[in-house]
Symmetry: C2
Subunit: 137 residues, 2 copies
């Protein structure tokens, strides 16, 4: 049965933290997220690359591919670099994706985190946690 593919794209980093964030978030999404087939990949420094992530998705029996950038806000990566790899026309959010068996399915490109009350909530939580740091922190 066909499923919806969700490819989470992170920036990647020379340090391990960005990759940990992306892959753990992908795991949490699997727990909460219902019926997506979820994989993660990285624009720079970390593996798999976006091209490799797309190739992994190509062999799955997908009905649609949703590409979700785990970035804070629009910038050059979101507006230019990732769309280019996805083969999207400039400014477009919808394209197509060719599976390994030759079927062409829709591809949609989601927004980065952006302005959201959940983000404000997260920042207030981190601020409150900082107030409880031990004296020698």
């Amino acid at each position: 049965m066909s499923v919806k593919g969700l490819l989470l794209v992170g920036h990647g980093s020379r340090l391990q933290y960005n990759k940990e964030l992306i892959t753990t978030t992908a795991e949490m999404m699997k727990e909460h997220g219902g019926d997506y087939l979820i994989r993660s990949c990285f624009l720079e420094y970390s593996n798999p690359t976006v091209a490799e992530g797309l190739d992994l998705m190509r062999s799955e029996d997908l009905e649609i591919l949703i590409v979700v950038p785990l970035f804070l806000a629009k910038g050059i990566h979101i507006l230019r670099d990732i769309p280019k790899i996805l083969g999207l026309e400039a400014g477009k959010k919808r394209g197509t994706f060719t599976l390994a068996d030759g079927r062409v399915i829709p591809l949609v490109y989601a927004e980065p985190i952006g302005i959201d009350p959940l983000l404000a909530e997260l920042m207030l939580k981190n601020a409150a946690n900082a107030l409880t740091l031990p004296e020698d922190a």
Copy 2:
């Protein structure tokens, strides 16, 4: 009466989106966040700079300053660049901050967004929204 100061630090960008994200999140935090005096500043490209943000905070009647980085994960900016500007010892989360009137108050350095179920929730929301994009998106 003394208040807790909260300085939100964003990356900044040559484009407007990062600044919009940081300043709007700061506004949302003011609405939801109770008793903090909140300002935002930027590490690169956007204004005010972190040094300018600290100077603005210096003239307030603060009892403590909480510096909250609106970054996704630890990286060089979080581990090295921002602590350096804050005058924190390497690896330390607690320091001091000298107000314009000479009083020395505690400074605490909060964590970036990091691994959090709220982030997974946000990504699933953005994925679901992408499925409802108009045909010509």
